[in-house]
């Protein structure tokens, strides 16, 4: 018993020494000005799936904003963002590398792929609104090719035919067991936005669906 407790003590002692060393290293860093660099690790880095007629590709990081606003503020926000916020259900607007998705009667998702910050644009607007940066919450996946509709339909219960889900249509919906935002960028191209923690599941699901769609 006594021996055991001594063992624990010595382990704790070693830990304390380590911690002291770390603190000293951090202090030294602060003095010399060597900043700690954090490596950006993309959730789906390097994962591409190709089958006959369809390709599933992770899209590069983008700036995203979740925007809630009453009707009176929409005009001012549209002016600041440089893209007219769509008012009709299931529609989107695109202008100069910026996408605005209608998600609900007073809810939009704004995506900027040009590296500009839509959150800063919203911050300049005086009208009542709520803009939350969700750039790192979401991961985007592109499903392209003639079999893209069959691939997404494997897990999405909505009618995705061109007549009902035309180019530019966007909707929050489900894919398998995960919630996604589905956007039709072109006749043979979908953009799928999902939460980062769901991205492995969504990508794997789409890969399997693509394999089936090709078969």
């Amino acid at each position: 018993m006594v021996k055991g407790s001594q063992g624990v003590k010595s382990v704790q002692g070693a830990k304390n020494v380590q911690r002291t060393k770390r603190v000293q290293a951090a202090k030294k860093e602060a003095q010399t000005g060597d900043a700690v660099t954090v490596e950006r690790r993309e959730a789906l880095a390097g994962r591409v799936f190709s089958a006959a007629g369809v390709t599933v590709t992770p899209l590069p990081p983008a700036e995203r904003v979740s925007l809630r606003a009453p009707e009176d503020s929409v005009a001012a926000l549209s002016r600041a963002l440089g893209v007219t916020l769509p008012a009709k259900p299931k529609t989107s607007a695109a202008k100069a590398g910026r996408l605005a998705f209608w998600l609900g009667p007073d809810e939009w998702m704004v995506i900027d792929e040009g590296g500009k910050d839509p959150l800063a644009d919203c911050a300049r607007v005086k009208a009542l609104h709520s803009a939350v940066g969700i750039s790192h919450r979401n991961v985007a996946i592109a499903v392209t090719g003639p079999a893209c509709e069959a691939t997404v339909s494997a897990g999405c219960p909505q009618d995705l035919s061109l007549a009902v889900f035309p180019v530019g249509a966007v909707s929050r919906t489900v894919l398998g067991k995960a919630e996604i935002v589905l956007y039709r960028a072109a006749e043979d191209s979908f953009r799928i936005e999902c939460w980062r923690s769901f991205s492995d599941y969504v990508f794997t699901f789409l890969s399997e669906a693509a394999r089936d769609a090709a078969a």
């Binding site: 259900p89 809810e107 219960p157 909707s171 929050r172 919906t173």
Partner: protein, 98 residues
């Protein structure tokens, strides 16, 4: 799969996008601290549970995320109609003889 019409999305969507949220038109008392235990029980626990037409709250949780009201037949499980939250009970139901 059931198709449910969302009054905000203005189209029929698959049931997987929706969640039931209990009975509709249950009015919360203005001064809930003043009501008797019996009245509170009636407000809080007692639901109509009819056989036939029921008025329910539903939420388009995996869509526009809005709450709305729906009229449903508990016998056939068919949705008679849906309408936006805050609107009064519809006086006339389409396709229901009464």
């Amino acid at each position: 799969m059931l198709l449910i019409r969302c009054p905000y999305c203005e189209e029929e969507r698959p049931e997987l996008e929706f969640r039931n949220a209990g009975e509709a038109h249950v009015a919360r008392p203005a001064d809930i601290a003043a009501i008797s235990d019996e009245d509170f029980e009636a407000f809080f626990f007692i639901r109509s549970n009819p056989k036939g037409i029921i008025y329910e709250r539903w939420r388009h949780i995996h869509g526009c995320a809005r709450f709305f009201n729906a009229v449903r037949d508990t016998v056939s499980d068919k949705f008679v109609m849906t309408y936006k939250a805050g609107e009064p009970k519809p006086k006339k139901l389409p396709g229901v003889a009464k």
